[in-house]
Subunit: 321 residues, 2 copies
């Protein structure tokens, strides 16, 4: 069994090649460009780890991993159009650099490429992988739509937000593990447990991300603290605060929504602290992490095979921050 | 063997149902709306005809036909965004009615739905159908990109245009027939011939479309005659005229490109007629039609099975207009 970082290095060198034809260059240069921007490649590595949880990595796992990474990049290209994002990893997004129409089409062709990679899987396992891929691909689109809807809505409750995050982020992480597990010959019960492990890890990660944006150490976090507050983003923290704070504090939070001002971040953080949102978020994150690890624990393989996934979970999700 | 119109009626009633879940309604109402706009459903019917060329229609052919129609609708939703088209079949396009972001995502989810329909095909024939689908889906995107590129280019030659039309239109018609043929148990040689039949029929149809836009009877054609000329569209006619007309006539054509004026259509049509572009287009169309029928003729099945396809070809492509 290999660690995440060992597999990351292997995947990086496997993936580092031309994936698209030369012509029409106006269509494929944008795709090559976008893949060259890099990324953490977490999802394909989860696929390889899902395979290795059960048996040595089968050559097909690399194809599935590539399909997953292509799919993820398709979502990024199209999300960037929808978000009108000028930059991705510090460089111009595809629509900024090549125009919106080409970005739209480059995303389309990236999605079809994902399916092309998938079609290289042996017939014996093609159908379950193909079906799962279609299911979560649909859910990721639904998650993106819900996310856009929430920007317009004022009545988003915690269950809505959980569903959105689950679809937009968690299901792809979960399915990446499971598609690898299918290649590795896993039975259905183990696949279900692994899916839940990935899903809850994704939720824990999102709670942590929301928490760090408000309470993180800016030095360690590497982002502007309070960015979500300034952008009026409906995070775990804001939604829970609006649901649990007393009338006066809810009024403070609502008075800042859609407005800017020097005290905005401090005012909102004071309410969050007063209502114990910080402790609530930490315990929610740990609850998801514990549940994820409990699901992993139940998977019927020798413990040694689970070690890299436990290490990864504890590396991604810190208990005390 | 059933005629195109009999199969059209069957497919219309098969396809007339809810294909998408209810929620999120913000995502799926646009898809339901777009499918409700209707369409000729030529491609799925070609798929059924491709099956029936070899044997009775297998239940899977309906799934593949649905996948093809979903794919075609995906391309229309995204093409409408790229073309900034306000109307489709006389009603607002998806981006006009629901906003561009939702149209983008509705197209994405329509493409994934196409693959979901495909995944219902029996394992024994899934791989060849899946692979062909991926190949032509990619080519359709390439064709759309070439079409957009040509709008910016002044040096488009006939071979460029043929390649663009082939990718953007013909390969999906050809592959629709062949996917049906695969369901029907056709051998490879017959598949290749049927693919060429569909491809050349597509080319003949496009030549006819370009011809009718310039020389058609407005009463019969149902569109404004000269629309392509007014829009400076690089059609078979314009490209061939620019390649073959004498210097003075080329100058007339070029003087009108990018400009509008009362005499534009008449001036361009005079040049076309003077250079015999009308006769050239008719004979090019008939050449493609003859080649298509010759390919069909070579397919190793009893002639009676070919009758509906011959009738369809001669219905779609009129020899004398």
């Amino acid at each position: 069994m290999q660690s995440f970082s060992a597999l990351a290095a292997d995947f990086a060198s496997y993936f580092d090649r031309k994936h698209f034809p030369k012509e029409p260059q106006t269509l494929y240069a944008p795709n090559d460009y976008f893949l060259s921007l890099g990324g953490k490649r977490i999802r394909p590595i989860l696929c390889l780890m899902g395979n290795e949880l059960f048996t040595d990595i089968h050559p097909s796992a690399w194809e599935v991993a590539t399909a997953i990474e292509m799919f993820h990049n398709f979502t990024l290209i199209h999300d960037d159009i929808m978000d009108k994002a000028p930059l991705r990893r510090g460089l111009p997004t595809v629509h900024e650099k090549f125009g919106q129409n080409t970005a739209l089409l480059a995303g389309d062709v990236m999605l079809i490429k994902a399916y092309e990679c998938l079609s290289k899987v042996p017939s014996s396992i093609l159908l379950p992988i193909f079906s799962l891929f279609n299911k979560i691909a649909t859910e990721v689109c639904e998650g993106q739509q819900l996310d856009m809807d929430f920007e317009q809505r004022t009545n988003v409750v915690l269950d809505d937000y959980l569903l959105m995050i689950e679809k937009k982020t968690s299901v792809l992480l979960a399915a990446s593990l499971v598609m690898g597990a299918i290649v590795g010959g896993s039975g259905e019960r183990n696949q279900q447990l692994l899916y839940q492990f990935g899903r809850k890890l994704g939720l824990a990660f999102q709670v942590q991300d929301d928490y760090l944006d408000a309470f993180g150490d800016p030095q360690k976090f590497g982002k502007q603290v309070g960015g979500d507050i300034l952008a009026d983003k409906k995070t775990f923290l804001l939604i829970h605060a609006l649901e649990t704070a007393d009338k006066a504090d809810v009024a403070i939070l609502q008075s800042w929504l859609g407005k800017q001002g020097d005290n905005k971040v401090n005012d909102v953080l004071s309410v969050y602290r007063k209502c114990g949102i910080d402790h609530w978020a930490l315990s929610l994150k740990n609850k998801f992490l514990d549940e994820a690890l409990a699901d992993l624990d139940q998977i019927a393989v020798v413990s040694a095979r689970k070690k890299p996934l436990i290490e990864l979970a504890e590396y991604l999700i810190k208990r005390d921050v």
